[in-house]
Symmetry: C2
Subunit: 157 residues, 2 copies
């Protein structure tokens, strides 16, 4: 299982790089059940001008349209960076049972000397849905590299 | 201004009832600036099977696609019920400056004897964006009536 998680995270990071190649922010996510990837998504915020199109919300939208509640509950959402509160809420409403994230949000923000003003996803789920299992960070340095290559230039810092 | 807020909330409640008429959950929201309604949206979760289509996220999606950042910052989001964390996140990412909500989430949940496991929107914004001004509840009893007519039957309670 640890080996598979690293393989899946490498795929999430590839999706994050693909998002950048498509003109968007470096985030990717996938949904996996019993070792099989069911849905994949990447950030679409810049190209759609829709700020709700984070990788995880885009993934949840596809997932709840395509899959039943039992499948969602038995699935793991693997995401390149710790989900923000919008995405935590979407994952909660979808009834997805488990989250694995790559990079901690606080660490991502450091790549552009930003101020972290989010709520860590473990704190969010402790309040709204303690049954959701959360693992991370995973392969954080690899994921941070993509952020470090993207944000300072994107933000002009 | 108080008169106008009540008028706008009455419109948000009308959108919530419209959502029910369209087969969805009883939530509606609108974006207003200088007394003019710029965008309206209603819950679309049931008909789309997309759990990310809350009234506020649907509103934010339309708003960020259509309006610039300066307009969003000067706008008020008026929503029939206190926004969940997903919607708080969406409102935050959109950079909307002010929120007015009708019904407190804890009060809505009481209409179907549910357990409130959200995070009050004031607590969320105190952490992520204290500059956002929040007002509510507004005309709460009127909004609660729509919830009381909907949830017990919808949930079979």
């Amino acid at each position: 299982m640890p080996d598979q998680i690293e393989e899946l995270m490498a795929r999430a990071y590839a999706l994050a790089r693909s998002a950048v190649a498509h003109g968007n922010h470096p985030f990717g996510a996938l949904l996996v059940k019993d070792g099989e990837i069911l849905v994949e998504a990447e950030n679409e915020v810049v190209t759609t001008r829709d700020v709700t199109r984070h990788a995880e919300t885009a993934l949840v939208a596809k997932a709840t349209m395509e899959l039943d509640g039992k499948t969602l509950a038995a699935s793991t959402l693997v995401t390149s960076t710790e989900p923000c509160i919008m995405c935590c809420g979407a994952i909660h409403w979808a009834g997805i049972g488990r989250i694995v994230f790559g990079v901690r949000a606080q660490q991502m923000v450091r790549t552009f000397d930003g101020e972290y003003r989010g709520i860590p996803c473990r704190d969010v789920f402790a309040r709204i849905n303690p049954e959701v299992e959360i693992n991370g960070p995973v392969l954080e340095n690899e994921g941070l590299q993509t952020h470090a290559e993207f944000w300072p230039e994107f933000l002009g810092r």
